[in-house]
């Protein structure tokens, strides 16, 4: 990993069309501005990790519990109508 020091307002260029600017700093937070082509996904790592974790739990879903679903939906339906 390349590690370098930047001051607020300073920018890093990655390749020809990605610019990363340190916008502001306060205590342990850094606000970062990113200019990048729209075809690039820019995501916070923890968001991706959360979806991955949830997928792992979801992949083991038991099919048998679904037998309880019809009752649940029937129970829910009158409430939903009332709310409208």
């Amino acid at each position: 990993m390349l590690v370098l020091t930047r001051k607020v307002g300073e920018t890093i260029l990655i390749g020809d069309n990605i610019r990363i600017t340190v916008v502001a700093m306060e205590e342990d937070k850094v606000r970062i501005g990113i200019d990048a082509p729209r075809e690039l996904a820019i995501l916070r790592q923890e968001l991706v990790d959360a979806v991955r974790r949830e997928n792992q739990a979801a992949a083991a879903t038991d099919a048998a519990v679904l037998s309880q679903l019809p009752d649940l939906l029937a129970h829910q339906a009158p409430k939903a109508q009332k709310a409208e």
Binding site: R38, E39, L40, A41, I42, L43, R44, L47, V48, A50, V51, R52, R53, E54, N55, Q56, A57, A58, A59, A60, T61, D62, A63, V65, L66, Q68, L69, P70, L72, L73, Q76, K79, A80, K82, A83
Partner: protein, 153 residues
């Protein structure tokens, strides 16, 4: 072709129905082939069964039926990955998790929706950045509300 599944036994499926996920699902990047299996009596739900791994199946739900105002904006890069070349090709689903407390507490992941081009048989899991959604929204909130409700972590 025949596929093995732990939940539904051996299934005979048409090869044309296999949906390619070139990037897989997050955490399951090595599984690229899936089939959609309906949930009998519950058209809001559908199974996404991995073809290569009998034990892996995701329960999907139509999020728009449960979460008013929920929206997923497909970026050009998503449409490209899904090979979209016409209107009304893409269906969007949310992945469901059922906690040990049972189906009454089932949750939908609104951050990581699954988009499937039903015509081209291409699938993709998105990660939505900059929304107020979480990976855990109760499908059946204790008190009915207008907005999706995040479950306590």
């Amino acid at each position: 072709m025949q596929i093995q599944t732990t939940r539904f036994g051996t299934l005979e499926i048409d090869e044309q129905e296999v949906i390619k996920f070139p990037s897989g699902m997050l955490g399951f990047e090595e599984l690229n082939d899936y089939v959609l299996l309906p949930v009998s009596g519950n058209p809001a739900f559908t199974w996404l069964q991995a073809v290569q791994e009998p034990a892996v199946a995701f329960l999907l739900v139509d999020p728009f039926l449960f979460f008013q105002g929920y929206e997923v904006e497909l970026q050009p890069r998503h449409e490209q990955a899904l090979q979209v070349d016409g209107p009304d090709q893409v269906a969007v689903y949310a992945v469901v998790t059922i906690p040990p407390s049972g189906v009454k507490d089932m949750m939908a992941n609104l951050v990581g929706p699954v988009a499937i081009n039903l015509v081209k048989k291409r699938g993709l899991q998105l990660v939505l950045e900059g929304t107020g959604y979480t990976t855990r929204h109760l499908l059946f909130p204790r008190q009915p509300g207008q907005h999706p409700r995040a479950a306590a972590r």
